[in-house]
């Protein structure tokens, strides 16, 4: 690793989220971008003229159905004659876009960057038709792999290694839906009981319908600012004290030998998430995340993913998070609230799902999360995940400037 040069501190000063919901009930793709951008600008007391550059979060465009869609988007994100880039890392896109914006500001190129995206995940009727196309064309595509089978197989492996039960998965889902019911922007806003989850139909064993995320539509935007451009009279900054990313191999079949992992991890675990978290924690000066992190918004498209993510983020010893969820450790009123917004199990607009994690972290730091506010949240972690459980990013947001 190179020696880091001094980077400028970067804060998120305002976020915007549309109401998330079903694709058929949502606005057009580009209108949702426009709405989210305006909400974030309003929350930042800025106009588009104050923005130096725009980063568009747009995951595989086959979901929304317009190829090279940044052409269509540019007017709706205020990008005309501004520097514009598009970022794509699958489900991690939303946080990768924030990371690109962070680097714009940290490097001293721009003072205020708008990061914005949207999705209409069911535009083609079912995103899983498209997700089969993310697999290797020679060795995997002829098999009906999808993102559902991908996570189901990780969950089976985790059960085998650490004894996770379907009831523990259901407890995660119950917790997520309880929190989501408190979040006015969530797509799914209803409580579910552990028994309801356990009695819901199997999608791919051991995953059941109520262990799974919905396919959502909506938009999200974030305004990032240099320290010099933060106006204390108008802004409550959430400082990006750490932000990092790690990718893993394409081949799931190469992630099955724990002896090849420094952590003894395999496909049961989220190794690249752990690597990204270590980098982000080091940037933020966090040595004991269990003691120092007040809340977490983590990208978990199915309930068992929250369990191994909690371990990869250092919030629980490896193999122990399942019982901790059952004990309420990660509840909204628990030791470390995990996904106070309801998380991805209640809302999954793929291009911006990871940005929503970040935006919810900003709201927690700003004390603006409403009914799902974690009291006195000063250090919040947000994560993204994309690809074949392959691209992971982690941001550490703090109320105080650390860098």
């Amino acid at each position: 690793m190179s020696t880091p040069v001094q980077q400028r501190p970067v804060a998120a000063i305002g976020v915007g989220q549309t109401r998330f919901g079903a694709t058929k009930d949502a606005g057009t793709y580009v209108e949702m971008l426009h709405e989210a951008a305006h909400l974030a600008l309003d929350a930042s007391a800025l106009t588009i003229d104050d923005i130096d550059a725009v980063v568009l979060a747009l995951a595989p465009e086959a979901l929304m159905g317009v190829n090279h869609a940044e052409r269509w988007c540019v007017d709706f994100i205020g990008g005309r004659l501004k520097p514009v880039m598009r970022v794509q890392t699958g489900g991690a896109t939303g946080l990768s876009a924030v990371q690109a914006g962070y680097h714009h500001v940290a490097a001293g190129l721009y003072d205020r960057v708008l990061v914005v995206g949207a999705d209409r995940v069911r535009e083609s009727g079912d995103a899983q038709k498209i997700f089969n196309k993310i697999w290797d064309p020679f060795y995997e595509r002829d098999l009906p792999f999808t993102t559902i089978t991908m996570i189901a197989m990780s969950a089976v492996r985790y059960m085998h290694r650490y004894g996770m039960t379907e009831r523990q998965m259901a407890r995660v889902s119950e917790k997520a839906h309880h929190n989501g019911a408190l979040n006015p922007n969530a797509h799914i806003r209803r409580e579910v009981s552990i028994e309801e989850v356990l009695e819901s139909r199997y999608l791919a064993w051991p995953l059941k319908l109520l262990d799974a995320c919905p396919q959502s539509a909506g938009g999200c935007a974030v305004v990032l600012s240099s320290a010099g451009a933060v106006d204390p009279s108008r802004h409550t900054p959430a400082w990006i004290s750490g932000i990092a990313m790690a990718g893993d191999t394409y081949y799931i079949g190469d992630r099955l030998d724990p002896s090849h992992s420094a952590r003894g991890f395999d496909y049961a675990d989220a190794e690249a998430l752990a690597v990204a978290a270590d980098r982000a924690y080091a940037m933020a000066g966090i040595s004991d995340p269990r003691a120092e992190v007040d809340a977490v918004e983590t990208y978990a498209s199915f309930s068992p993913v929250e369990i191994h993510n909690a371990e990869a983020l250092g919030l629980a010893d490896v193999g122990t998070a399942g019982p901790l969820f059952e004990e309420g450790f990660f509840d909204l009123d628990g030791e470390i609230p995990l996904n106070p917004s309801g998380g991805v199990l209640c809302t999954n607009p793929i291009s911006v799902t990871a940005m929503v994690r970040f935006a919810e972290g900003v709201l927690q730091i700003q004390g603006r999360a409403g009914a799902h506010q974690v009291p006195d949240a000063k250090t919040v972690v947000a994560t993204g995940a994309g690809g074949s459980h392959q691209f992971f990013n982690v941001a550490v947001l703090t109320s105080e400037q650390r860098t």
Binding site: K129, E140, L143, P144, V156, A204
Partner: protein, 159 residues
């Protein structure tokens, strides 16, 4: 004229209808050709870390090096079940469920091959799980009729 009702959504249908011709690299092509023509399953040895990669690829992701096309290893028909799931959800354009998808590490290989795990009693979750345990022995079977695709092989429980 005054609009008095909420407009129903105005839907414009568009279609992507694309066929791609993917050219395989030399290593992958040799694996698929040998599978089709000879019914043999090959791995390849990384010249640096000496892992046997199955399925074989033109590079090793650990060492960022090319693999040698003279470092072929013939894999046995036995293997270990490493991952599986029982798929129950019907998805347009994909096979009708239920079916079992699996990754199996062939004897002599360091990585795992994807495939269907067949000849499992799928009449209930309980009956299927009775035969599905990570770490169990499975047989890698080459189908009698082959087309040079990965689905020319499948897995079944070892007797």
């Amino acid at each position: 004229m005054t609009e008095t009702t909420v407009a129903t959504p105005w839907i414009v249908e568009q279609r992507w209808d694309l066929t791609y011709q993917h050219t395989a690299d030399e290593v992958t092509a040799h694996f698929l050709r040998t599978l089709r023509d000879e019914g043999r399953v090959l791995g390849i040895t990384c010249p640096v870390c000496k892992r046997v990669l199955a399925p074989p690829r033109p590079i090793c992701d650990r060492d960022f090096c090319r693999t040698d096309t003279d470092a072929w290893v013939e894999l046995g028909s036995g293997g270990t079940l490493e991952l599986f799931t029982i798929m129950h959800l019907a998805i347009q354009g994909l096979p009708a469920p239920p079916y079992v998808l699996a990754y199996v590490r062939p004897d002599g290989a360091d990585t795992a091959l994807p495939g269907f795990l067949e000849e499992i009693d799928l009449s209930s979750t309980e009956s299927a799980l009775a035969e599905l345990q990570i770490g169990r022995r499975v047989e890698i079977v080459v189908r009698p009729s082959r087309s040079g695709r990965i689905t020319d092989l499948y897995f079944r429980p070892a007797s």
